[in-house]
Symmetry: C2
Subunit: 396 residues, 2 copies
C-alpha cells in the first residue's frame, strides 16, 4: 500500500519512474511498447523519454520497422548510466590465502570487467584491500568514479546490519571488527551492501538458474568446506534477526535418549565429513567435491556412498521442509554441483522415505561462480532501484 501523496510533480515522477523501470526490466522498448505497458498517452511517453534521455538515463539504441509508416525509435536504459561492483571474498582451502573475485557490471547487466586475486587478510586491511580492488576494476572497465553506484560484498559469514558487524567469519583477518562496512562506504563513496555468500548464490539461482520460475525456494549449499542455507520467499531473501537465518551448520541434532553428543549438521555433511564418508566407501579423492564427482560419474560402489550422503542431507532438509515448506530445494555448492542428477535422485529417494514428498529437489544450473554472479545481480538490482527513486527525487 503506497501511503504516498502529492501533487502533479508526484504524477510526473511516478510516470517517469514507471517508464524507466520498464526499460530496466524488459530491455529495449519502443514508444508504442511503453504506451501499452504504462497506459499513458503518446505525448506523455514522449515527454518522459525526452527527460530521461536528457538526464542520461535512457537513449535511442536503434530503429525498428514494423510494416508501413516511419520506423519507430527503440529506447533502452543507458548501459553506462551506472555501474555496480561485486566482490566475493572466500577462503580458498585451509592453507591457501583467501581469494577475492570481483566483477563490474553495467545497468544492462553486462559484465564489463572481472578479476580474481589472492589476498592475505592477515597482513592487509580488508577496507584497503577491497577499496583497491574496486578502484582497479572500475578503471579497467573504463567507468568514471562518479558513475559507480553500488558495491556488493559477498562474505562467507553472516552480516548483522543493526550492529554493522560480520559474524562467523570463515576468513582470517580483520573482517569482524564492527563499523567495517561504514568505513568502506565512506572510503568508496558509494552505497555498500554485504550479504552471506550462500544468500547471493541464491540470487543468481533465481535470476538465471534452476529457480528461475520458482515461487519460493531454499538453496542448500554443500561446499568443500562449509554448508549453508538460503531461503528465498517470492524473490525476497530471508535473513533473520541478525543475519543468522540459514546457519544450519550449527543446528544441533537431537539424540533421542541423548547423552549430549553435540552432533551438528556440519559434522554430518560438512566437507571433512563427506571426505570421511567417501573413504569409508573406498572412494579416495583430494576434495569432497572430487569424491562426489567420482561417485556421480559411476565409480565402483558409488551407489551406497551417494545413498548414505543423501540420507544425511535429508536430515537437514527435513527440518527445513518442516519449518518452511518450500516448493523447491536447490542443491548447490561444489559438492552439490559435483553430485549432479545422481545426487539429486538419491536425495529425492531419501526424502521420500521419510514422508510423502511434495518438494522438488533440483541441482544448481549455474556453472560459473554463482556467488559472484549473484552478488552482481543483487548489486545491479540495488542500482536499478536507486535510479528509479532518483528520478522520483530529481523531479521534486
Amino acid at each position: 500500500m503506497p501511503r504516498l501523496a502529492g501533487s502533479s510533480k508526484l504524477l510526473r515522477a511516478i510516470n517517469e519512474s514507471a517508464a524507466l523501470a520498464h526499460l530496466l526490466e524488459r530491455g529495449p522498448l519502443t514508444r508504442a511498447d511503453l504506451r501499452e505497458l504504462t497506459g499513458l498517452s503518446k505525448p506523455t511517453i514522449s515527454e518522459a523519454l525526452r527527460r530521461l534521455t536528457d538526464a542520461g538515463l535512457a537513449r535511442v539504441v536503434g530503429h525498428v520497422s514494423a510494416g508501413p509508416g516511419p520506423n519507430a525509435e527503440v529506447y533502452a536504459a543507458s548501459p553506462d548510466a551506472a555501474y555496480a561492483v561485486a566482490v566475493s571474498v572466500r577462503d580458498s582451502g585451509e592453507t591457501g590465502t583467501p581469494s577475492v573475485a570481483a566483477a563490474v557490471g553495467d545497468v544492462s547487466g553486462q559484465v564489463r570487467a572481472r578479476t580474481e586475486v589472492a589476498v592475505d587478510f592477515l597482513r592487509t586491511d580488508p577496507v584497503a584491500a577491497v577499496t583497491e580492488i574496486v578502484e582497479r576494476l572500475r578503471a579497467d572497465a573504463g567507468a568514471p568514479a562518479s558513475r559507480l553506484a553500488h558495491v556488493q560484498l559477498a562474505v562467507p559469514a553472516s552480516y548483522d546490519p543493526q550492529t554493522d558487524s560480520i559474524h562467523h567469519v570463515g576468513v582470517t583477518g580483520g573482517w569482524n571488527r564492527p563499523g567495517l562496512v561504514r568505513e568502506l562506504r565512506d572510503r568508496l563513496g558509494t552505497s555498500v551492501g554485504v550479504d552471506n555468500d550462500v544468500n547471493l548464490a541464491a540470487v543468481a539461482e533465481r535470476r538465471r538458474g534452476a529457480a528461475r520460475d520458482a515461487d519460493s525456494f531454499a538453496l542448500l549449499w554443500l561446499g568443500d568446506e562449509g554448508l549453508g542455507l538460503a531461503i528465498d520467499l517470492g524473490g525476497t531473501l530471508l535473513r533473520g534477526a541478525r543475519g543468522g537465518a540459514g546457519e544450519i551448520g550449527y543446528m544441533p541434532l537431537f539424540a533421542p535418549d541423548g547423552e549430549d553428543r553435540k552432533v551438528d549438521l556440519q559434522d554430518l555433511v560438512g566437507g571433512p565429513a563427506v571426505l570421511a564418508l567417501a573413504a569409508e566407501h573406498g572412494i579416495r579423492a583430494r576434495t569432497p567435491a572430487a569424491a562426489v564427482a567420482a561417485a556421480a560419474a559411476g565409480a565402483e560402489d558409488a551407489a551406497p556412498f551417494l545413498a548414505a550422503l543423501a540420507g544425511r542431507v535429508s536430515v537437514g532438509l527435513a527440518a527445513v521442509i518442516a519449518v518452511l515448506d518450500p516448493p523447491l530445494v536447490v542443491l548447490a555448492g561444489q559438492v552439490g554441483r559435483a553430485g549432479g542428477p545422481a545426487l539429486r535422485d538419491a536425495v529425492t529417494a531419501a526424502m521420500a522415505r521419510a514422508e510423502p514428498l511434495e518438494t522438488t529437489i533440483a541441482v544448481t544450473a549455474i556453472d560459473d561462480d554463482a556467488v559472484l554472479l549473484g552478488a552482481l545481480d543483487a548489486g545491479l538490482t540495488t542500482v536499478h532501484e536507486a535510479l528509479i527513486t532518483s528520478v522520483h527525487e530529481s523531479t521534486t
Copy 2:
C-alpha cells in the same frame, strides 16, 4: 516499486486512499493532522474528506479545541462502512463435537457480536453450518448484508490456496473436500479467507500481544492436542508452498545411529506426551494444560518436570532458530499459556545450554481466544485494504 502510471485521476485516487489509510490506521484525525501526515494542502484535504464522507467511508466524530480559533472537526473512518466476520473452527477434545467460535468486528476494530456453538460436522455440511453462523451473527450485530465485506476462517489445518483445499484437518467431517472455500465464497457473497489457527493466533500476538514491537517472531503453539508453529516476518506470515509451513508436528527427529524409530516432535511435546511426562514425574491432571499449570504454580517436584518439558521444547526450537533466526519466540497455546513465566524460564535455560542464545523467549500475552481475535484482526486488515483500493477504483 509501484509500476503505477496515470493521469490526474490517479493522483486523486492516491491522495484519497492515503487519507483513508491514515484514518484507518491511526484512528480519528483532524484536517490539520492529515495535512501533516500527507503533506497535502488544506483545500486538497478538505476535498478528499468531503468525497470520503459522501462515499460513507468517513465521518465527523467530534470536535477538538486546541487553543484559540474554531474547534477543529475530527474525522474517523465510519465504523459501519464495512464488517468482517471471523469464524474459528476447532476440535474440542477427542470426544466432544467440534466447537465453533465466531465474532463480528467493524472497521474501527470494535467487536460487535460474538458467539460460540457446538457443531457436529459429521452430520452438518461445513458450508451450510458456517453460512448459518455468519448470517445469524451478522443479524445480531445489526449489520446489513451489503456491508459484510469479508469472512475469515480459522481451521486447525493447513490451507492450500492453489488447489483450494484444506489439509491435515483435525476436525471431522467434510472439511477437506476441494472447492469448499469457493463454494463458501459463492454462498456468502463476500471474500473468504482461510488460514491455519496457529497462524491467526500469531496475528493476534502481533497486534495486541507479546510480539507487538517485534520485527519478526515465531510463535510455538503448544496446544492440549496438537502443536504448531507460525512464522511472522516483519508482519507477513510465512505460509509455505502449500500452506504447509510450520507443520513441525510431523518433523522427523534424527536418531544418530538410527534404526528408524520414527520419532517426531508431536511424540515429544504433543498433548498426550506432555500428560505422560507429567505422570512420570508424579503429576496427575485431566489435561496437559492443567498438569503444566499445576507445575508452574509450584506443585512439589515441579521443577524437574518443567525442565524435562523445556528440554523437549528446545529440540524443536533449535531447528526453528537454526533455519530462521527469529529475534523472538512466543510460547502460546493452552500448555504454553499455562506454563507461564516458569516454563519460559525453563525453556530459556534449556536453549542456552545448547548454544549461546540470542533469541528472546516470551509467553503469550493474550488471555482471550487468541485464534478468534487473530482471525478478526486478519479479516479487518483485509477489509481495510479492500476499502482503500475501492477508493482507487471508484475514482477511475
